[in-house]
Amino acid sequence: MDSACITDNSTKKSFNFGNLIQRARHWLPAQGPIKEFVHHNTLHAFQHLRFQDASRAAARLYGTRSFMPGEFYLKSYRSGDITETALCRTLERAFPDSSTREKARQRMLSEPIQFQNPRGAAQAGLRALWNPLLKKVSLDRLAHPPLFRMIGGYLDQGLSIWRMPGADRLGFFEAVANLNRSSLLPLYPYSSSSAKELFELSAPEAANRALQRLVGDKDLYETYLLESLLAQPGWAGLVSQCEMNPASLLSPRSITLEEYAAVTLVTEMACLEQALKKDFKPLSALDRFAPLKPDLVPEETEEERLLQVWQEAFEWSYYEPLLGGIADMASRTPTASAAAPAWAFFCIDDRECSFRRHIEEVDPKIRTYATAGFFGLDFMYRGAKDAVAAKHCPVPLTPRHVVIEELIEPKISGVSWWSRRQHIEHEANTFFRGWILSYALGLGSMLRLAASVFRPSLAPVLVPPLSTIHPKGRMKLTRSDEVEGPVGSNDFQMGYTFSELADRVQSVLQSVGVDEKWPGLVVFFGHGSSSVNNPYFAAYNCGACSGRSGSPNARAFAQAANIPQVRDILRSRGIHIPDQTWFVGGLHDTSLDQVTYFDVEQVPPRLQSEMNKLQGSIRAALSANAAERCRRFEILSDKMTPEDALRAVRLRAVSLFEPRPEYNHATNATCIIGRRSMTENLFLDRRAFLNSYDPTKDPQGDILAGILSAAVPVCAGINLEYYFSRLDPNTYGAGSKLPQNVTGLIGVINGVEGDLRTGLPTQMTEIHDPVRLLVVVEQSAETALKAIRQNVGIFEWVANEWVFYACVDPQSAEVSLYQDGQMLRVNGLKAPLNVWKTSHEAHGASRGNLPVGWIRERPSC
């Protein structure tokens, strides 16, 4: 169908622009508005290819780096970050023949491999042929500023004072056309007669006509269109995302990529006409070209092959001691576990990895678990002060339930005029108000400026984040009627029924495989992150809660598990939660290293002393955790007590001048799914996503399959976004955060006329080591293989080596790695050597990444 439409040169009408758009859309970045930053694989478009092939193909399409520079690897080898054994292992795999292997090795070690990155389609493709004709400027420089002005104004979510006329009711093409038509003044470059003519047509028609003028040859339309969009990946990608997910815009816009592409093409045509004075010929008149194939995988050059070996050696230098350590732990004879006074549940987030370790160090009796931070509760949440409900579950899920929070005293104490104007300076941008306010606020700004520099505190810039817990709020979690809502409707249900809640509690408890000996207290910690002056705030929150704070989920879970009716249902299904057990919800603020507990007044008095004890342990763990985090902040002194460290992290989170409130997921490298006994003596340096899972309770691997399908996309998405943003900080990443300028409340740009920046800023990725995620599951090889094959979408990540997948047999402690369709046993793994007494001894004051090591004791096999 498609090809028929395109190659049909005789009838102009049947040309199908929509198909072109659908195909082009695939290659654009998939980043939505910045308010909900969801980590995803930067190269999602190439995920059907093997990783190496994909990064080469992507480098050719986008003009990016696909490896770190050769010097990086050689330096890592010389400093010992790339180990000899890992290099040998990788070389053996890449060059089975020993003589070529030796030659390759010599070349790699003699000098850094030099490799010239290809230039991308947008820089060196068909469309770049205009530039020599334009002489003084490039087409991008002509066409982009007016185009971005239009799309920026159209999509603006409330930053600019005037809204573009018609933005709220017209499509983008129609809105520009309308503006162009009704304005009495010319709108450059759309005011030219030929552009005006095109704006009278429909968007696809106009695009077709513009392409005719620009390209001429129908076979090249798709190539040209793709190049045009790839020359401005930020805006084009955002438009595409907004079209597919209209709910992500607070001020709705009926934007489509088709209309945006049409305006882009008309802009380019009009600019060229004006610059070349109408006498330009279409590109196909210049020469003959073949269409661009975006996913064509270029031949691998010798240099790329060697760099690939380096990259894998770099990865294996981390994987080897890790797998060796896990194997040792698994082969250890398990000791009978004593009854714990409390359990603490966390998100699988890598930032909780060290926090859990510190809690266990402070009080070894406390048992910790981790599971995806939405705790099985997939709802839309509306806080007491919010006007809209927001999604609190992983992105792929579609919630059917709404949970709202109500104030205990429903009468809202009147919001004073002044408190509404805490940020009054934002109102000073107009003429008269600005006149008065600039006098009035001048002195105030002086005080605020001095205060923000010398005494940072949360108060002056406090923006109470959306969808969090109100201190005086009460959650409406349950619904009285047991009737299911109409199936297939889009209506949300208010709250959950008891049995629905029991389902969710059950699934969480079963997936982590809780012990039979219930403690008195079970605390669920969601996590969030406070930061100021930070447009990327959403990227700091919980990925399993769509980039929001996990506090409502933790609170809701605790409430649900405390309801007697829910416990009754659970009991009937074989989960016996004793009556003396109480659940508490909490929030771990990962930047402030601060913990809040919800509904503590409801904790039964008999548990009060245990609660106090737990809180004390957690407080101590927070300081220790802060100290471990502080070693990565070079600007801080390396001689700090845990208390100093806690003060330092709290100060940096509220400092306006601090672009790194925390390092988020930087350095993440592995995801370990198994019992805590498999990792408890390993020092993993905040690099691991930990997911609790008990293989003995899941012989069929169904629970594992469920965990994998939730954990792999989230963790691998985070991992690969960091990977690519670190690899090419200016193209895959968003460059430095310092000069960025917030635009339309939907993204950041450089200056006032640049393209939207996608990916992560260098301030988030600078300490990250580009290492692919290694998923390790505690399970036998057959079951592990079966589990990963269950979900085709998840299996693709593994099969194409976007993530590595290994398993450790709980019985034999054998390690196997997924390779070419099977789990192959990995031999010769060396366990880590370092043994440290405490975490503090392990991290000390060093700044860089630490190798995997033993903590407390080395297990005796």
């Binding site: 005037w162 003044l185 400026l449 400092s655």
Partner: protein, 594 residues
């Protein structure tokens, strides 16, 4: 007192000098040096202000120090402190101190850390000098340095073409302002005049982004946020208003000047408030909002309300500085405001435009605002297009021109008086050719050298007293040669990227060409101008514009040589063979038959 005032000015320069000469300092020591010099100069200025206040707060002048003098020209170092200078000095010290402290952490780990602070310290020193200078010649020194610091910080991320381009755009406006300043400073020596006021207004309008130059303010927001806050929120943008405030006695007697300042200010205020309304970036909106207020400050000055203007300057500078520093918070804050029940936005519905204007006018107003009043197009049409036409015309008739030129020169030999004029015209044409060649980096420098050579010849015919002029010419030609050779060297070896020495030479040479303060060419420029003025004011105007143009060309060449990123080279030149081989498979006919 004198000691304290000079310490205020000199300490930041000293700090900048240390940082510039020791580029390999660690971040910690660079920060220590920066903060040390910053706090020391703050202490000196506070001490000076305290002394001044205790002595009654009357206008205070330091004894003049004749730094350089020739027959007709004296360069006098003299500072003065009155209430306006004191308030502005405090503003300068406070905001720059805060921003430096702020940036210490903000810029952590950023490549170019010490470069940033060297430039900011230079800016701080220059602003202090500008504030305290008692005469326009000395003020011009600070003025020039502020311009250069602006340029360097806008182009801070020089790997992006866009920021270098915008830095040049801003610098070109600053050069135009400099013409006004140069001529104004000269005329102010001879007599008070309406022309002095108007020339100073030109200078002030350029620096403070007033009509018709307003468009540059938003394009300058390319550097790290704190530098934007300091330059375009707080100080640089108010320097023009301060100039008018400080020179009030020079122009207050002339009604025309008052009217011009008032009209210009009001026009700017009205236009910029319209422009700011459709800016969809936070920094752009604040930029235009700030210029709106500066326009109002001009109006206040026109009415002679100097106190009100002073308060307005201080208040607006502080407000905008703070606003820009917290601008990354806008997403969180405004989104929250929109989605919270008690603060949902209503302003749009209330707006006057939406309620009272018919759709057609609303669209027109929107287009006018989005197009930023066509100011840039207008400037292009008035200034750049003629240059382009002249240059193209010159290039087309290359040979006849040369013949004609020589014919004129020879024929003019007879009439010695005209030859100077003719040579000056030729110099101007060369300068125009240099301006036009914006893609190439080397040839324009040659044109610039040629134009200076012509000026040298021309001077030989005009002036009787030639020593200073000849020296100046040697200096500037030497600068051109140094700049040219080191840029050539850098271009040929740009792959290695290992030529800091040549980069520094190119930088110094360029500074020489633009007549950077206290380099010999700086005094030379002034002397020359004084000399020429006596002869004919028209020549003086064209000569000073020529200085401005040539300086701009030199900076542009420097920017495109030093800041050239190989990845961006695709902008102009394009290698078709490479494209076919790397990007597309060869054209196959079967492909088309599919």
């Amino acid at each position: 007192m004198i000691g304290m005032l000079s310490a205020t000015i000199l300490l930041p320069f000293l700090g900048a000098f240390v940082l510039f000469t020791l580029p390999s300092l660690s971040e910690k020591s660079a920060a220590r040096i920066t903060l040390g010099f910053t706090w020391a100069s703050s202490a000196a200025s506070l001490w000076a202000l305290l002394l001044w206040m205790m002595s009654g707060g009357v206008r205070l002048q330091t004894p003049p120090l004749d730094l350089f003098s020739s027959a007709s020209y004296h360069f006098i170092l003299q500072l003065s402190l009155d209430v306006f200078a004191a308030a502005f000095l405090f503003l300068v010290q406070f905001t720059s101190g805060m921003v430096i402290r702020f940036s210490r952490v903000y810029l952590h780990r950023e490549p170019g850390f010490s470069r940033f602070f060297a430039i900011v310290l230079m800016f701080r020193g220059a602003m202090c000098l500008l504030t305290l200078a008692d005469n326009l010649d000395l003020l011009f020194v600070g003025w020039e340095m502020v311009g250069l610091a602006s340029f360097l910080l806008i182009a801070f991320y020089h790997e992006r073409r866009q920021s270098v381009r915008n830095a040049l755009k801003v610098f070109s406006v600053y050069r135009v302002a400099d013409v006004g300043m140069l001529l104004g400073a000269y005329l102010s020596h001879s007599s008070g005049h309406t022309a002095v006021g108007l020339l100073l207004l030109l200078a002030a309008a350029g620096k403070s982004a007033q009509f018709p130059f307003s468009f540059w303010i938003v394009r300058a927001m390319e550097g790290p946020t704190p530098s934007s806050a300091l330059f375009y929120g707080a100080l640089s943008v108010h320097a023009g208003a301060y100039l008018l405030l400080r020179t009030y006695p020079l122009w207050s007697a002339f009604g025309t000047v008052h009217i011009c300042i008032g009209v210009l200010g009001l026009l700017t205020a009205i236009l910029c408030t319209v422009f700011s309304r459709t800016q969809h970036t936070i920094k752009g909106q604040i930029g235009y909002a700030s210029v709106t207020q500066v326009g109002l400050i001009f109006v206040e000055l026109a009415f002679g309300l100097r106190w009100l203007a002073l308060i307005h300057i201080v208040a607006n500078a502080l407000l905008r500085c703070y606003q820009l520093l917290v601008s990354p918070s806008a997403v969180a804050y405004l989104l929250r405001q929109q989605s919270a029940i008690d603060t949902a936005r209503v302003s749009d519905e209330r707006s006057f435009v939406k309620r009272f204007l018919p759709d057609r006018l609303r669209a027109t107003l929107y287009v006018f605002s989005v197009s930023e009043g066509y100011l840039e197009v207008m400037i292009r049409a008035i200034f750049w297009n003629p240059i382009e036409y002249v240059a193209q015309w010159l290039l087309r008739f290359k040979i006849p021109i040369v013949v004609l030129g020589f014919g004129l020169v020879i024929s003019a030999m007879a009439v010695t008086h005209a030859i100077g004029l003719i040579l000056a015209v030729i110099a101007m044409l060369f300068s125009i050719l240099a301006l036009n060649q914006c893609r190439d980096t080397m040839i324009p420098i040659l044109w610039v050298s040629a134009s200076y050579l012509m000026i040298a010849f021309s001077i030989c015919f005009i002036s009787e007293n030639r020593h200073g002029e000849v020296l100046y010419m040697i200096g500037i030609l030497l600068s051109c040669a140094v700049a040219f050779c080191s840029m050539l060297w850098m271009r040929s070896r740009k792959a290695q990227g290992n030529g800091t020495l040549f980069r520094d030479c190119a930088f110094l040479g360029t500074l020489g060409v633009i007549g950077f303060p206290f380099l010999p060419t700086f005094f030379g420029e002034d002397i020359l101008l004084h000399e020429v003025f006596r002869w004919h004011p028209v020549i003086a105007v064209s000569l000073s514009s020529l200085f401005a143009f040539n300086g701009y060309v030199a900076i542009r060449a420097l920017a495109f040589t030093v800041y050239k990123d190989p990845k961006m080279a695709s902008d102009g030149s394009f290698n078709r063979d490479q494209k076919i081989s790397t990007l597309y498979e060869p054209a196959v006919d079967s492909e088309r038959l599919r």
